[in-house]
Assembly symmetry: C2
Homo-oligomer: 151 residues x 2
Amino acid sequence: MTSQIGTASCSIAATLAVIGDRWTVLVLRDIFRGVHRFSELQDDLGIARNLLSARLAKLVAAGVLEKVPYQARPVRYEYRLTDKGRDLSPSLIALMGWGDRWMSNGQPPTVLIHDQCGTPLEQRVECPTCDQDINPRAIRSRPGPGRRTNP
Amino acid sequence: MTSQIGTASCSIAATLAVIGDRWTVLVLRDIFRGVHRFSELQDDLGIARNLLSARLAKLVAAGVLEKVPYQARPVRYEYRLTDKGRDLSPSLIALMGWGDRWMSNGQPPTVLIHDQCGTPLEQRVECPTCDQDINPRAIRSRPGPGRRTNP
């Protein structure tokens, strides 16, 4: 069994190849929350310029962020999420949810809400057939179409 | 705004302090999938002994894993998820989902299914008031009870 689940054929490993670094996740968190410019990101994160620059370049190269000019002379850019980047929202929400439940003494620093009604949001894993929430013990995995067979 | 969202008061940063390292996430992935013993983890991940040992020790210290003896002479242990560890399931599912959608050419290597009926599972963010799925553009954040005010 073990060799079948190595990193060569795993979407978790594939995702971590793009965002598997703490600074990268925190950069994305800030951009989701509306911090789009280099100097603002640097101020907020307290990260060295060269490290921030490298993370942003990697995220742009991966198609997660795009550089959009916001000023003409001199040209200055801000960083915006692409569709691929915005789709990291469930990952950040899940990481945040665990920190809220286990690391905040019941006092979450931030609450995510539905813009239309202000209700705190809930992230769930559901079975569309049974129409019910599924807890981790009821989850199994099976090989998908992209599973590489072992040589 | 920016200074309010620094790492000092953020559940994403708090979670990354525990699992914000690629090897750690891959160790957890394996344990979720039923690989519980040191030598099996080492074989599957191709990780150096000292690195694996350090990751496991950190996860035990954080209360995410527990060591359970499976053999008496000599005593040998395997690593099991605690409730705190099992609650990382939504994070791993979210990371996997993004890799499936963006890094697998539409061919996911693994499919998570409901054990009772075999249906592929879906992870959603929902508004309990509006009883609807929420997309990332409709999410706002507000300060929670644990938000530290700036000095």
